[in-house]
Symmetry: C2
Subunit: 337 residues, 2 copies
């Protein structure tokens, strides 16, 4: 309950900080540019509001880590805004790359304003993220600012490398598990571990403690992605609601699908015959489960969540933020969407 | 002659620095990702070599400014690589936004590898630019690093704002000259002035001298863009070689075209009737010249080049680098392509 109140306070502060950063993009003749940014963030236009903003998990993770590591979370707010803007920049570009018409139930920026403007808006969001991060210089020393920027830039490089692999894998038949781990490490875990590292950095922990927080974020991110993979096939939303949005239909190389392919059973023989239709989704999801892919994936997510918790424990967090981090870790593992 | 030798030495050092930065993008399974970056930079693939790399004007401007301001140009090499990578990131994304099949006579990255990979490669290039910039920390103090990063991030924001205007103007009929100046300030002049500012910053000049160098880069960038606008209509390459690549055909709102529209003469009445065909280019280029658009644009470029030279003089540059900066300024004004 206390942890929940903490979360509410943080989320509100994050939203205020994000809006201040994004307002910098405005100016003469630039109303639509700023509107596209605000639309994507969930603040403006059709369907705006709480459901459209997303859960702000990454900035929350950063602030909670900073608090749990003994820092002043308010000093970390610009960094929290930065990681959320990086996440949203990558979504804006992903939507173009994946040709996705919808994001959180609303038309994507590219489908409303066209690819050229959406692409450029993503570049603007990327830039705002870095401008946000630099603001930590007002409350911390120069060396910390440079280290935080270095972590963030390296994370972005890993994001683009992971994204490269994700796109390249679409047209490859054989993907090893090693390649899968490299892909999700870049695509998802890198930004989670940046959150926990930068939170600890701003709290001025020892390097070994920061390394434990980094490992916590790393394992949490890997587990988060596998849960996403599971929900992409067996989640209520796709299985009973929108089978056309199933990862089986889009042809994504997620963990359950790679496991299913490796079993060389009924699922694998259907998979190799070409794109799966929405009508086949319920049967093939049951088949994939019967062949052990759900059990295998859940085990992997559980193992990685356990690794995350152990790394967190080794970082010796404290206070209400510690409890909230543990609740957040459990929530991300148990979530249904 | 001495200045020319200086340029050669700088260009070679820039190329080495760029290659080192880009090599960081490689790794297991990432050969094609790195190849796309190297292809766009002009180092690999069909048609690679001197003609494919571009002129590296921006990093040269940065190094020459650093030298002329009394700094050690070698300390500025990572910053020089950064501005060239920012320029190339924007070209990679521009090519997608403008639907351009060719860049410097070679197929663009998107036309060879598809939009998703090209978009993501541009994001990778953007990130490498920032990683390059951070390397100046090895030879300068933390405060200078943070200021350089701040200048670069602000420049990128203005780049995306200028690009937004450029795309938005395509579908607008009435564009004021004020809007035109705001657009090219963001699209072109911002990066030029970042080059001269950061060069002066690394040379540790006074703030007022750095401001004079900033103004030099600003006016040089505006003039550079107007020369580009002139060549886009009356340059040999488009007028006699590839009329289909004329800015009149693509419908870009460049300075001569805006001037022609404002004259409400023969050119304007043809322009408002719809897209111009390559066959009409020679006649309409002569018509636009007869209506005064070439004279007006050349006067503006000349005035801005003069402003640039005055700002440079006020910065009190010195040494061979000073002469080379003046030669570069004249060359950019007199160039034919």
């Amino acid at each position: 309950m206390q942890g929940n109140l903490l979360t509410q306070e943080y989320i509100q502060a994050i939203e205020t900080e994000l809006q201040e950063v994004v307002s910098k993009a405005g100016g003469a003749d630039l109303d639509v540019f700023k509107h596209m940014l605000a639309y994507h963030m969930g603040w403006e236009g059709e369907g705006s509001g709480r459901k459209a903003t997303g859960k702000r998990i990454r900035p929350l993770l950063l602030l909670l880590t900073c608090s749990a590591a003994g820092g002043n979370w308010e000093n970390a707010l610009p960094a929290a805004a930065a990681v959320e803007l990086i996440h949203n920049f990558s979504l804006l570009h992903d939507d173009i790359e994946d040709n996705s018409p919808l994001r959180r139930g609303r038309p994507t920026v590219w489908s409303k304003w066209g690819i050229p403007q959406a692409l450029n808006t993503g570049d603007g969001m990327f830039t705002l993220a870095h401008l946000a991060m630099l603001k930590i210089k007002d409350t911390t020393d120069s060396q910390t600012v440079i280290t935080a920027e270095f972590i963030l830039h390296n994370t972005c490089l890993r994001l683009t490398q992971g994204q490269y692999l994700d796109i390249a894998f679409e047209s490859r038949n054989e993907i090893s598990l090693d390649s899968y781990w490299a892909m999700i490490e870049g695509k998802t875990a890198a930004l989670f571990s940046a959150c926990t590292q930068i939170g600890a950095l701003i709290a001025k922990t020892s390097e070994s403690t920061r390394e434990n927080y980094r490992r916590y974020g790393h394992f949490l991110g890997l587990s988060f992605q596998i849960i996403d993979d599971i929900l992409g096939i067996w989640g209520d939303a796709v299985l009973t609601g929108k089978p056309a949005e199933s990862d089986m239909v889009s042809g994504k190389k997620t963990l359950p699908i790679l496991y299913g392919i490796s079993q060389k059973g009924t699922f694998a023989s259907r998979w190799t015959k070409g794109r799966i239709t929405p009508e086949e989704v319920p049967f093939l999801a049951r088949q994939l489960e019967a062949e052990g892919a759900l059990h295998f994936s859940e085990n992997e997510a559980s193992r990685l969540t356990q690794n995350a918790k152990e790394a967190l424990e080794q970082a010796h967090p404290s206070g209400i933020a510690e409890e909230t981090l543990i609740s957040l870790t459990n929530y991300l593992f148990d979530r249904k969407r």
